[in-house]
Structures are given as C-alpha cells and as structure tokens.
C-alpha cells in the first residue's frame, strides 16, 4: 500500500522533525502509553506528545538491571534502559515525562526516571475501580496535569483550542476504528501487522500527518480486493504490545494465521470511544479516558475487560485467542488463569498464553507453542 510506504517515510523522519521542533522551543512531552494521558492537553498548550512505547529488545532490559530489580514488568524495566543507554534518540529529547500511575510496574518508570535522570516527571493516579469517587480522583488528576502543562509551557489552554484538538484526536480515533472494523470481514483488507504499525505510529507522529495517512489507508483499503484468508483468525490480547516488539506477530504470521483484532493495556491506542459533547471539556476527557475506556487487568472486578475481549472475539469471528504478556505483570497472570474457562464457555474458543522477557532465546519455544496452537484451531 502506498499509504503505508508514506507512513514508513514519516516515521523515519520523525525524530529529526522532533529535534527541529525542540530547537524551535517546543516542549516534548513524553508519556507512558497506557491510554490514560489525554494527549489533547499537550497539543492544546502547544507542546508535542511522544509516547514512550519502545520495547521488544533485550539490551535495554539487561541494562536496566543496574537500576531496577528484574522482578518488575519487562516493558517497564526497558524504559529506564532506553533512557540511560542513550541509543534511542526520542528518549533523549523528553522535556517532561507524564506518568499516569496505573500499577506498581508503571510507578517504577516514574520513580526510576525521577531518581536516575534529570527529566522532570509528573505523575497522577489512575484508580482501579469505576465509581463516582474514582472518576473524581482521575478528573482531579488530569486537572493537575493541565495546570502543570500550562506552567511548563507557559501557554494557557483555551477552551476553543482544547475543543479543536479534541476534534482532531476524535478524528484519528474514528479513522483507526473504521479501519479496524474492516477486519471483521472474512477477507480482512489490512493485515494485523499493518494495523499495529498504524496504531503505534499514532503515538509518535504529528496528529494532522497521522490523520492524512489514515485517510489515505482507508481510501486504498476501500478500493482494493483482499485475498482470501490462508489460516485461522486470531485475537491478540495482553498487557503490552510495544513498538518494536513484533516477535509474536511474526510467529503468528509464519503459520499463515492472521491477527484480526487486538486488545492491550499498553502500547496500543484505544480507539473504540471518542470524547463526547460540548459541556465541561475536562469532564468529557475524564469520561472518555477513564469512565468509558475498556479497563486493563489491574481494574477490579475484572469482568468488564474480560467481557469486552469475549465481545471482540465474537464480533471479529476469531478462531482462537493468543494472550501475550510481558513477564511479572501479575494482574495479567491471575486473569489468564480463569479467563480461558470463561472464553470457552461463552465462545467455545481456546486460548494460548505466551510470556515474554524480550529475550532472543524465547523465539524457539514460542514458535513451537504458536505453531501447535494454530494447528489445533485450524479449521
């Protein structure tokens, strides 16, 4: 697809572009990609958001061992590794790191950056239940974030500007959703890998550029005739699917199966819901980012998320579910124990669980397990 080639070119240039913006005085606001940081606030004060979603490589994880014990989530450990290894240019550009604290693994990112780097860190908490007081706490958190961003950039966030960027971000979410839903078709016009690439790019590219790419992709997809499927349809779910962590995707593709829908806590933008209405915009953001966002596994009770995965499995008519999580993400470990029974009962589908520590040596055992699983679900 031409649009995907364009995307690739934009991504290659993005670091240079960010560097230029930074030299022009624009602040680069890094954030953890768990879907609880309203990017709208960053755009509205003239700064540039950049999701820290690099992962999949072993070296940063090893390097992080000097700063954090190995018993924390792999992706979260890797983040201090990327920063202190200094190989990843984006990580060196960050002026302010925003960390919505979702669990202790994410808190480790905030604390390790706070302690070992000179980057200022701003944290706010994300409660683990959905009720009125939790909503209020999250809303207070993003109000504090707004205040912090205004002070940090020296730009007051105006209501019209916020409305404008909300519309922009809604447009991006809407396009991602439209493209994703096309995969419900028995002949999905876009591969899982391409969709994931698009989704990952949305954390890094300029919003207008991203919208242009998504519109082009959509137009091309509408024109083309997709080839018939060669293997089973898979739902890929789990804790984190980082930018660069494509080992599992490659193994699934090698078997001829296709990933037709994904559900992840981190690394994948949540595009199912948009920000609503004209009223209080901060409340509308909290409504979208907290109240209506499908929760990750550290929320309780766990039903909402698990029911959502079952719904996706049914709607996208998948043949099996692959649960891909990073090591020591305990909330996911616990749910992966009782979810297969729920899934089987509701859909008759089977699930394979894979855990990664971003280690190259994993690929052999992963291949055997994925190949066996795909064989068992192949119709």
């Amino acid at each position: 697809m031409e649009a995907m080639e364009k995307l690739s070119a934009y991504m290659k240039n993005r670091v240079a572009e960010l560097s230029k913006l930074k030299s022009q005085g624009r602040k680069i606001i890094g954030y953890t990609p768990g879907g609880y940081m309203p990017e709208e606030l960053v755009y509205a004060c003239g700064a540039v958001p950049a999701g820290l979603l690099r992962g999949g490589e072993h070296e940063p994880v090893l390097y992080a061992g000097a700063y954090l014990p190995r018993w924390l989530d792999t992706f979260c450990r890797a983040q201090i590794g990327y920063k202190l290894l200094k190989d990843e240019a984006l990580y060196q550009m960050i002026d302010l790191l925003v960390v919505p604290i979702t669990d202790n693994n994410i808190r480790a990112i905030a604390d390790s950056w706070d302690f070992y780097t000179d980057v200022e860190v701003f944290s706010f908490g994300v409660p683990h239940v959905k009720n009125d007081s939790a909503f209020k706490y999250y809303l207070e958190g993003i109000n504090l974030l707004k205040e912090k961003l205004e002070n940090f950039t020296g730009t007051k966030i105006s209501e019209p500007k916020l409305r404008e960027v909300i519309d922009l971000c809604n447009k991006e979410r809407g396009l991602l959703k439209e493209i994703s839903l096309m995969r419900k078709s028995q002949r999905p016009p876009i591969s899982g890998r391409d969709f994931i690439n698009l989704n990952h790019a949305s954390f890094l590219l300029d919003k207008r550029t991203m919208i242009e790419v998504l519109e082009s992709v959509l137009a091309e997809l509408k024109k083309q005739t997709a080839p018939p499927p060669t293997g089973p349809r898979v739902l890929l779910t789990g804790s984190t699917l980082a930018y660069g962590d494509y080992k599992i995707l490659g193994l699934i593709e090698e078997t001829g199966a296709s990933v037709v829908v994904e559900e992840f806590a981190e690394g994948m933008r949540h595009y199912w819901e948009t920000v609503r209405g004209d009223g209080d915009q901060m409340k509308a953001l909290a409504d979208r980012y907290f109240a209506r966002r499908e929760p990750p596994a550290w929320f309780r009770p766990s039903r909402e998320r698990l029911d959502f995965i079952i719904k996706l499995a049914k709607e996208f008519k998948v043949d099996g579910v692959i649960w891909y999580q990073t090591m020591y993400r305990e909330a996911y470990d616990l749910e992966s124990y009782y979810f297969p029974d729920m899934l089987k009962k509701e859909t008759g589908l089977r699930m394979l669980k894979i855990e990664s520590d971003y280690d190259a040596a994993e690929i052999g055992p992963f291949r055997t397990r994925v190949e066996t699983f795909i064989e068992t679900i192949r119709r």
């Binding site: 954090l68 202790n104 994300v126 409660p127 305990e330 470990d333």
Partner: protein, 467 residues
Amino acid sequence: MYTELFKLCGFEPEEIEKERPRIEKAFQKAGIGREDIERAEGRVKRYFDMTSLGVRKGLGIWLEQLIDLMLAREEGKKIVYPDFPTIPMITLALNLASEEVYCQTPEIVLDFVMGQIFGKLDPILEAAEAHGMPPASAMCALKQARLGGILKGIVPMPDLLLGTGFYCDLTPKVDDLLHEIYGVPMVIMDGCMDSGWDEFPEIRPRRVKALAGEIRRAIDESEKVLGIKITDEVLDKSLGDFVGLWTALYGLWDFLKRDPMPMSLVDLAPVWWFSTTTERRGITEGFGVIAALTDEIKKKVDAGVGVVEKGAPRVLIMCHQATDPNVMRMIEEAGLAIPTTALMGVTSAQATSYLETKYTTWEEKVANMLLCHGLYHSTSGLIHRYRELCKTWELDGVLNLYQFSCRAFCISPLLVKKSIEEDPGIPVLSLEGDMWDSRTYSAEALRTRVEAFAEMLRAAKTAKALK
C-alpha cells in the same frame, strides 16, 4: 500428643483440657499429626526463647488464632478476610462491632502457625501454584497462602473479602479471582501512589480524602453484607485500642536500642504480627504479652544480657521473616544485631504523633496515619523512612533483604542502596529474599553474603573506634 506443644506455648493444663475438642477438630482439619507436632516442638525450642513466658504466651495466642480461624464457620461466625497490607483499625472495628463476626487475615495466621511453628506451609503454597499463581512468576507467597489455604479447605470460605489496593496490585487480584470463581462478595479499598518525588512527609489532602472515602465505603459495604452496625463508638474504640497497642509495642521496642541488644527480633515476632492483624484475641491478650515481655526485657537490660555481643554492628532489615525464623537467627549468628525493621516505627512517641492531625473524621485520621508511614506514600517516602530509622537507631548498616516477589517493594532496593550510602553514608547490602516462603531463600542460601557483610561492618566499626 499435642499437650507438650501447648505447654511450651504458655498454656496451663486446665486451659489445654478446656480447648481439647477444638484443638483436635482443627488439627484434624489441617492434617496436623504426631510428626508435625514433634517438628513444631523442635522448631519452637530451636528458634524461640522458651525461657520467656511472654514469648511462649505470644506463640500460644497464635495457636489459638489458627483454631479460631479454622473453626469460625462451624462456630457460626460471619467470616471476613481482610487482606495484607491490612488496615488494622478496620479489622479491629469489625471484630468489636459484633460477637458474630470473625475478622482476620488468614494468610498471616497460616504463615505464622503453619510456617514458623509447624514448618508445614509448602503444601498450601503449592495448592495456589496449581490454581493461578504459578511458580517462577514471582508471585507473592503471602497471597499464595491466602488462596492455597482456602482451596485446601484449611480455612473456611469467607462471607466477605475486604481487600486493599492502595499499595499492592496482586492482593486485590487474588480476591478478584476468588470473587470470579467462587462468587465471594468483595470490597477493595482502592488508592493511587501518585505523590511527587520530593513531597514526603507532606501528604496531599486529596490522597487522604480519597483513601478515607474508600475506608468509609468499605465500612458501609461491610455493614450491608454482614448485617451489622458499626457505630462511631466502636470506631473510636478500635482506633484507641490500636494506638494503645502500638504505643505499648513501641515502648517495648525502644529497649532494643540498648547495647547489648537484650532480645531477639525473632522473639518479638509474635507480638509484632498480631499487632498488624488485630483479631479479637490478639488485641485483648496482646497487652498482657507485651507487659510480660517488657518486664523480662527490663531484667535483661539490668543484667547486661544480650542476644548478640556488646558492640555488635546494628543493622536494619525490611521486615520480620514471617514463615522462617531461622533467617533472622542466622543474621544474629553472624554477629549482627537487628533492632528494628523498615516496617516498624521509629519511637514510641511517633505512634501517638500520627493522631495529631488536622483531619477530623475517623476514616481521614486512619488514612492519614497509613500514609504518614512512608511505605504507602511513595518510594521517596520509603527512602525517607529508611534514613530516619538509620539515624534514630544509630545503625551501622542496612541489610536490605527485600521481598523479590512484591512489585511495590521491588521498585526501591537499588534506590534505597544509593540513597542510604550517600546519606547517612552507611553500607547497604541488597539481598533478594522472600519473607513469606523459605523454599528458595533459606537462611543457608543467604548465610555467606550476610557473614561477609557482618565482617565488613565489624572491620568498619573497629576502624572508626580507632580513629
């Protein structure tokens, strides 16, 4: 066959006779046989100071707590399982509110009795490992004890799970599993550790208010599920009793500042653990045990008796080992005094100072008290706490035997090491360990490194004295 064990644990013959039917019922249920009892007799003699009536009575309270826990269902109680970390004032309030309610953290009882006393915890942990908490995933063994104890039928299925989610992420997920699979009602008191790096000891009012709201919600939900009323008088009494217990405990602890250190941390473990899990028996009989221990410790101080040599280097550890007293004994055998832990307070005065607050409602006072400690505040709060302890207790080093399977605690070890080595400038040995499970991190597995650290501290102390 168990008479001798109960006598060792401070029971009078007539008390044993009276309790006999309950003991037999509970031991049968737990699969405790002759071999286990002989092992328990050996363990208590080996690890605890059996010349101390206070220590023996403390162990006895734990044996009784296991029996109470196991028989709670058949004795007609409404059972509530608070989680660890607990909010002890709520546990106490529920126990005080109605004689029909039995509220206790089962995993602590199992760790103390099946672990420390009987050395028989492994099958309970293995049951959890087979049901969602697999080995090699760094799952907290304390939570495995909670799940495994229930699954093995050693402890009854509760009527209410009363969890906390303001520090540990796994705790509420284990309750979530029990809720999903067995339909047990669950209330989780949520919270977010989102304070800024340099904020401690300041605590954002919004954090206090939010946690207070969750505490109030838990009380309201508990009333509904259990059909009881928790009055303001009960709440006030629970807070008063708790502060009273802790003040007495801190008073006892202050004696450990003496040189030579007069009593082992192992021997204070029974009172420390029941002060964190305030079941009715622990709180009512606990004062008596603390008083007995205080009398004994005063005599030891007067006689100049110590558990380690006079002048032994003094170190801080994170927390009492909950299942294997041998780890703390091994540290003492290496010639190190452990006068306190990171989870303990600083002085007896501090226990009451927590109540001097601008907050007025019961739940706000409790929330503020929890956050004041530092551990539940932030990593920087915890570092602050370590520093304060090092200075107040004039420590020579920190033996940071950290809980590898606790994500919340795992953030800090290397940060603590760097911070403490800078200020107050004393050596820190960071050691991976597991206070809830000694299968991998036994005393023998840790001994060589602890001995080398002790040698280094002794040399440093000698060099300092010669200057």
